[in-house]
């Protein structure tokens, strides 16, 4: 589905990436150099980069005051891969500070906001593009970039994709190198891809899904070939005939019945499945992600890199510790500070067993539940096996619990714990490290985009793309 509505057309001028101190825009930095001629799989393609992915050409600030004007001295492996295949880096996109948020509203005070470009009419209230990769999703949706890289820790690619009506892939954990990606929660962070359609996403994914000796969690060539072998042997061909699709009973949001009929008509089998741990995924996610964030963000404020604020000398009579406290207090936004505090608490000696370890245990339970559900064996745990005892190949459910929320302080705006509820449907795949892609699935009753999520066994991106294309074809007929 293409986002070509009247509102977007009226904003034809914004099809070019732009930054602005006045107008809303997805970009925090744009590449002003003229794209030269290039060769490679992505020759001539303009791709936007989320502002937590290091790019030597650009300041990479994670939309945080504490990293304002930080120029990374190196470029992330995934960005290097794009460039060496001829891609043109269009710009860096705004995000919820350090990836913490789901509406791209946790921005430094001097940033202009991002508006969801998928509005059905010009009279509509302004809506959120989703987050935390809201800038990347909006850049693709408004058409100013062909594709965009985002990062997804608990849904940060899939949720904005759903809200903005584009395709958003969170690959299996470890498929795309994280070297150069500024960490929020290392055990969950994945580089994701956003594009107007699955072909685009797949093309970008194939370029950046590579082994990397600079990231020990990045899958090796050997593991990748086992995974592709399993995927080919399990359900040969290109269509979805023989696919077994599970709809989780625990998730009450309805999947469009016409979609299920369509998939059945194409030869897939659809069944309800039980994933009881899904309901406990959200608290587990917030404990683990916050704990890891409190660790990863400890480096900021020490004066080693980053903004002039961070590098500023101690003030008169200020100790090193006081200086660090001041910089961290001023440099981090509210949401980031909240999660750092929560994570620090979860890791404290008195709470560790009851909080962090319990969350880890819930994560284990959830992983096991997924594994018993899949027919396809996990390429890492049982190489050589091509069949498992499970019942499904793919899990399908709505990406979000609603269409994009209205921006602002009004009644309809999602705030606080409501904002966390948005992650309910996206965090399970993150905790389990599974590939999950949001594909546009038509419009809600309010005329705004909806998306469905397709989750499969680790390393089965190929199957996810195959089912995704079927969903795309169904949506085209809507």
């Amino acid at each position: 589905m293409r986002v070509t509505n009247s509102r977007l057309q009226s904003l034809a001028a914004s099809f070019k990436p732009r930054t602005s101190d006045v107008h809303p825009t997805p970009y925090s930095w744009i590449n002003t150099s003229v794209p030269g001629s290039s060769t490679g799989k992505l020759a001539g393609r303009s791709i936007a980069i989320k502002d937590n992915i290091s790019n030597e050409q650009a300041p990479t600030s994670c939309s945080s005051s504490i990293l304002q004007d930080y120029n990374p001295p190196y470029t992330a492996t995934c960005v290097q891969s794009l460039i060496s295949e001829g891609a043109y880096i269009a710009g860096q996109t705004k995000m919820d500070e350090f990836g913490m948020g789901s509406q791209t509203t946790h921005l430094p005070p001097f940033y202009t906001p991002i508006h969801n470009p998928a509005s059905p009419s010009p009279d509509e209230s302004l809506r959120s593009a989703g987050g935390s990769s809201g800038g990347s999703a909006a850049a693709v949706a408004e058409g100013s970039s062909w594709a965009a890289l985002g990062t997804d820790t608990g849904g940060s690619v899939r949720l904005p994709a759903s809200y903005c009506g584009v395709v958003g892939l969170k690959p299996s954990y470890g498929m795309i190198s994280r070297r150069g990606v500024i960490a929020y929660a290392d055990s969950l962070d994945c580089v994701g891809v956003l594009g107007r359609n699955i072909d685009t996403v797949e093309q970008v994914f194939n370029v950046i899904s590579q082994p990397d000796e600079g990231d020990m969690t990045c899958a090796s060539s050997a593991t990748r070939s086992i995974a592709s072998q399993i995927s080919q042997q399990h359900i040969p061909g290109n269509g979805i005939e023989g696919f077994r699709i599970g709809i989780p009973r625990a998730i009450t949001q309805n999947v469009p019945p016409s979609l299920l009929d369509y998939l059945k008509g194409r030869g897939a089998k659809v069944d309800e499945v039980s994933l009881p741990s899904i309901n406990r995924a959200l608290p587990a996610y917030y404990v683990l992600a916050s704990a890891e964030a409190s660790s990863n963000l400890g480096r900021f404020g020490g004066g080693w890199f980053g903004s002039p604020l961070e590098r500023e000398d101690a003030r008169e009579g200020e100790s090193g510790e006081e200086r660090r406290k001041r910089i961290r207090t001023e440099g981090f936004g509210r949401e980031v500070k909240k999660r750092i505090l929560a994570g620090t608490w979860a890791l404290s000696a008195d709470e560790f067993n009851n909080t962090y370890l319990k969350a880890l245990h819930l994560r284990q339970l959830l992983r096991r539940e997924y594994q018993t559900l899949f027919r396809i064996p996990h390429p890492l745990s049982s190489p050589g096996r091509i069949s498992n005892d499970g019942v499904v190949d793919m899990i399908l459910h709505p990406t979000a619990i609603r269409t994009a929320p209205i921006l602002g302080k009004g009644k309809e705006a999602a705030k606080g714990s409501n904002e966390y509820q948005q992650d309910l449907l996206t965090v399970p795949a993150s905790l389990a490290g599974l590939p999950c892609m949001s594909v546009p699935s038509g419009k809600g009753s309010d005329g705004w985009p909806l998306g469905v999520s397709l989750t499969s066994q680790w390393g089965m991106e190929g199957l996810v793309f195959r089912l995704g294309r079927a969903v795309e074809e169904w949506a085209r007929g809507l």
């Binding site: 992915i53 290091s54 990479t60 994670c62 990293l67 930080y70 990374p72 001295p73 190196y74 992330a76 994280r178 070297r179 150069g180 990606v181 500024i182 960490a183 290392d186 055990s187 000796e213 600079g214 990231d215 020990m216 969690t217 704990a291 890891e292 409190s294 660790s295 400890g298 480096r299 020490g302 080693w304 890199f305 090193g320 510790e321 660090r324 620090t344 890791l347 404290s348 000696a349 560790f352 962090y356």
Partner: protein
């Protein structure tokens, strides 16, 4: 009195154990505390040994010592955003062989954790270490009576061995704290012992033995002066038969002498405490050692202890060691210093300290030991084993002394040394000749390599002929002839000697040496002359 001031006790008269004049305890430490033997000191060590890999544990930056500050720094060492650790597997291998040499049980699956704290010396605000699943556990290192003057043979248990990162160095200059990241991220092994040592000497013996072990394995250089091996020591004191006392930790000790001094100072402080406040446990705290006064001082108490918020590091996969690989590493372990001492002293009856001298020539590859074994031959020629030790350790090393050239296996090639010793033993050349040969080779080594030199060449260069006529021991017919000739040449000396003037014997010896052109063995000549003069 010196000791009392160390403890900070102002008033000796209230202490019941002080008797007699104050002179007594200032000079004889052992008498200071009455009933000292009632107390037992319990000592455990935490040792940080730098892994000798040449690079950092998680980054490719070099670890060379003494460089310009902040030049051996990779972005990861400075914790730049988005950088990831890449574990050096060579460091893991060195740690594994160290664990095996310490008889540890290697954990089939070990993992890395983060230890969090905010300080200038740790840019990431966490140190990567192994808290929950260390590389290895349950080892032991046997200490033999006599090592470092210890009074018993016992095992020091190894609680665990883990791999971790070193911190940066920070120093305060004026109002600023300056940080040098050259050391940041260097790989360390932390070796934690059980509290099995009972005296400063025992703790010293353990550290010395561990240094030898690390060097032999090549896993560390054990250099305490450079800070490549640092020791934290836990000390508690209790009366025999009662439960262990409260322990105090003394941090960052950088020599064996300071280690022993710290334990001694701490032991006395604890005993003093229990004598003056018998019902109060001593305050558990972390202490430092004042290297000038050799007293410990309080750094921080237990109440101020930090919560390090240990958390698994998900950037690093678990280290899973294949049992077959582990067996191979175990089988390939080299002979340890104490093993070679035992073998050589038992097999050849050589002196322990001489073997130690050979080990000291090259603690890493045992070039000295290998040289000795080359000299005595493949299967160990027992006949010349002791002589060879003497020639190498006392003659060769003695002549080299502390001057250049340093010893090397090619200075006096082992085959030449062996041939020379065999000729001496057969009486075909004298010991004096042997010394001359060694002297010659040392003096020529600076201009030419001795590696290919044959004994015959040296002998001919020095104009020495091999005495083929002498029978065994060099005291044969030839020697006797020379002595008789000398006596004939110096009849007055013979008469004087027989009158009782034994000093003239040396004149006769000198005559024989002249006749033999210096090749005769002066000691043997003396024996033969004494016999003939009877």
């Amino acid at each position: 009195m010196i000791i009392l001031s160390r403890w900070g006790f102002a008033r000796p008269p209230i202490l019941p154990f002080l008797s007699g004049s104050s002179r007594g305890y200032a000079t004889t430490k052992k008498k200071v505390i009455q009933g000292e033997e009632e107390w037992e000191t319990v000592i455990g060590l935490e040792i940080h040994a730098q892994l000798k890999t040449g690079r950092k544990l998680f980054s490719p930056a070099s670890t060379s010592y003494g460089e310009v500050p902040n030049t051996n720094v990779n972005l990861h060492d400075a914790a730049f955003p988005g950088t990831l650790p890449v574990l050096d597997l060579h460091a893991v291998r060195l740690s594994l062989i160290t664990a095996l040499a310490l008889n540890c049980r290697v954990n089939p699956r070990s993992t890395f954790d983060r230890k969090h704290y905010f300080y200038h010396d740790i840019p990431a605000s966490y140190q990567i270490t192994q808290h929950y699943n260390p590389l290895a556990r349950n080892g032991r290192l046997p200490i033999i009576q006599g090592e470092n003057n210890v009074k018993r043979t016992f095992d020091v248990g190894i609680h665990q061995l883990q791999i971790e990162q070193d911190t940066a160095k920070s120093q305060t200059v004026g109002e600023n704290t300056l940080v040098d990241l050259n050391r940041a991220g260097t790989g360390l092994m932390e070796i934690v012992t059980e509290p099995d040592m009972r005296s400063a000497e025992e703790a010293g013996a353990f550290v010395r033995k561990l240094q030898g072990l690390l060097r032999r394995l090549g896993s560390g250089d054990g250099d305490m002066e450079k800070g490549n091996l640092r020791v934290d020591v836990n000390v508690s004191v209790h009366r025999h038969g009662t439960p262990f006392g409260t322990r105090c930790e003394i941090k960052n000790i950088n020599s064996v002498r300071f280690l022993q001094a710290a334990i001694e100072s701490e032991r006395r402080r604890h005993i003093q405490h229990y004598l003056t406040s018998p019902n109060q446990p001593i305050k558990q705290e972390t202490r430092g050692l004042n290297e000038l006064t050799l007293e410990t001082f309080s750094l921080r108490s237990k109440e101020e202890a930090m919560d390090y918020r240990y958390m698994p590091d998900s950037n690093l996969p678990a280290v899973v060691v294949d049992p077959i690989y582990l067996d191979k590493l175990r089988n390939d372990l080299p002979e340890m210093p104490w093993e070679v001492i035992k073998r050589l002293t038992e097999t050849y009856g050589v002196q322990k300290r001489d073997v130690e001298t050979l080990i000291g020539l090259d603690e890493y590859n045992f070039d000295g030991i290998r040289y000795y074994e080359d000299v005595i031959g493949v299967n160990g020629d027992k006949k010349i084993a002791k002589k060879a030790m003497n020639w190498i350790v006392h003659e060769l090393l003695g002549q080299i002394g502390k001057l250049p050239p340093p010893w090397s296996p090619t200075l006096v090639p082992s085959t030449l040394m062996r041939d020379m010793i065999l000729l001496i033993e057969d009486g075909k050349i004298t010991g004096t000749t042997g010394k001359a040969i060694i002297k010659h080779l040392i003096s020529t080594s600076s201009s030419t390599s001795n590696e290919e030199v044959k004994l015959e060449e040296v002998l001919s260069t020095l104009g020495i002929e091999i005495n083929d006529e002498t029978s065994s021991g060099g005291g044969g017919i030839e020697m006797q002839k020379l002595c008789e000739q000398a006596m004939a040449n110096q009849p007055k000396s013979v008469v004087d000697y027989r009158k009782g003037n034994e000093k003239v014997l040396m004149r006769l010896v000198g005559e024989v040496m002249k006749l033999s052109k210096g090749r005769a063995d002066a000691r043997k000549v003396k024996e033969v002359l004494v016999e003939l003069l009877k």
